[in-house]
Amino acid sequence: MHNMETAESNIQFKPETLKEIDRIIKQFPEGKQKSAILRILHMAQEEFGNWLSVDVMDYVSRLLHIQPIEVYEVASFYSMYNLNPVGKVVIEFCHTGPCCLVGAEKILKHIQTSLNIKTGETSSDGIFTLKAAECLGACGYGPMLQIGETYYENLTEEKVDNLLLTLRTKHS
């Protein structure tokens, strides 16, 4: 059962994040603070483990003085928000046409084999979640994937191996 009181006491942005949120809300006219929701949800995801739990979404609704349903409907619409727990590293792999013309499907298969997971799954060590993403706007530099705010472009199997190794070491 979802416990409102625990949620209220446990979930709290860091003070500097709250300051940043205050700055963002001020970018919109009085009473239009809801416009800040997409950006705040990005920040929430970053600060609370790469995904948005109901408790986190409820917390955001209280910050913005809107109904929880207004947060749920937004969070469930946009593909960058994870509504279930994910690994420490979320790989968004572009599998749209232009990337496939230059070998994305082969690289995707290589990642699946290396991590022993299918698209949408998390590796058994809990480090990697693999998501297939639609066009990330890097069509001339494919195959490509995104992790956090970083684009990894012109991928080869070798580049992927090095990247996975670096990330695994960092997060083990």
Binding site: H42, E134, C139
Partner: protein
Amino acid sequence: MGRKILLEKINVENIHTYDVYRKEGGYEAVEKALKKMTPDEVVEEVKKSGLRGRGGAGFPAGMKWSFIAKPEGVPRYLLCNADESEPGTFKDRYLMEKNPHLLIEGMILSSYALGCNTSYIYIRGEFMWILRILEKAIAEAYTNGWLGKNIKGSGYNLDLYVTPGAGAYICGEETALIESLEGKRGNPRMKPPFPAIKGLWQCPSVVNNVETLASVVSIVNNGGDEYAKIGIGRSTGTKLISACGNISKPGVYEIELGLSVEEFLYSDEYCGGIKDGKRLKACVPGGSSVPILPHYLVTKTSAGEQRLMSYESLADGGFATGSMLGSGGFIVFDEDQCIVRNTWNFTRFYHHESCGQCSPCREGTGWMEKVLHRIENGHGHKHDIDLLWDVQRKIEGNTICPLGDAAAWPVAAAIRHFREEFEWHINEPVKCLEKNYGLVKEPVLAI
């Protein structure tokens, strides 16, 4: 070398910083407009320039601006569409990343022309690092007095902010963008009313693409007439083309509209030809939504005339034998690519990105994806091609926003030009899993 306007300074070291941008003549257009021009005069120059929307639709920018309602005491908003998500398109990203002040300067000019005191850049959420580049540049512009209250003593006030999306192609549609900017799901609105009358928070708004707004800088600096001299006919000015797929030199190129497709595709200044010496199979010249052209219609029109990179020439022949300039996402397919697979891939994209409001799009894209998937995987039925044709016909024109059309057109064009390849998949279900079809034959016209 073609004429460069948007990318003229792109390789100047540190052009992304205010000091270098200013030293290179940056913000002179704002100085000129605020000191010597009325807002209406700026609109007039943009009208004279013939500049057309660079996001895909190609609607004249000056005319779009002239539609904005000006009720007393109601704020107006300029919204920059930086939601670049059309497969094959990665030009705005390049411009914003490398030369953010050019967009900011274009937005100040355009906001002044429209009488907006607050403007927003809506950028796709995946480009968060570009959002940070833009915010840094905006902060520099504030510090140096180009944004904020009483800009350079002109009495004109402008605040400019950047706000992210979170992964939704549909938010590139202007009313979906507005909904998203209001903090809601990106569901396109019924029109009318158009954003120019009731847009952001029900206030008059204009939504323009990054490249369109950046082009205004040169128009104000040199005059609309000068801009109109560049290009060909009603395709005035330059256009950013993002070239990708099986070419030697993928990347973002600025071309003068009217350049021949042949030169763009084969010269070393641009795409450098098909990669690894292979033959051209097909080309989608303006982003995934526009009709695909088979190899024999890429560099020449059906009448045998040279095909040019312009709104008119790429559309020559209508959808029967032409396509569209669209967003400038130029996708090239070599002889080893499978059209059925690519059409299935694009359709999966539209199915994924459909907002779900209109049933023809929500259901139709899903059906097309399923049917294409089974044809591609050797399970197609004889009637599937007709079924696909029927479904795409029922989506086109029957939805609130153009996503439905954008999903239907690639399927229609693929069947129109590559029917024999679809039939081969159905007739040779084993072979089609092992190899690709190769080039389609040019139809011989009976005289």
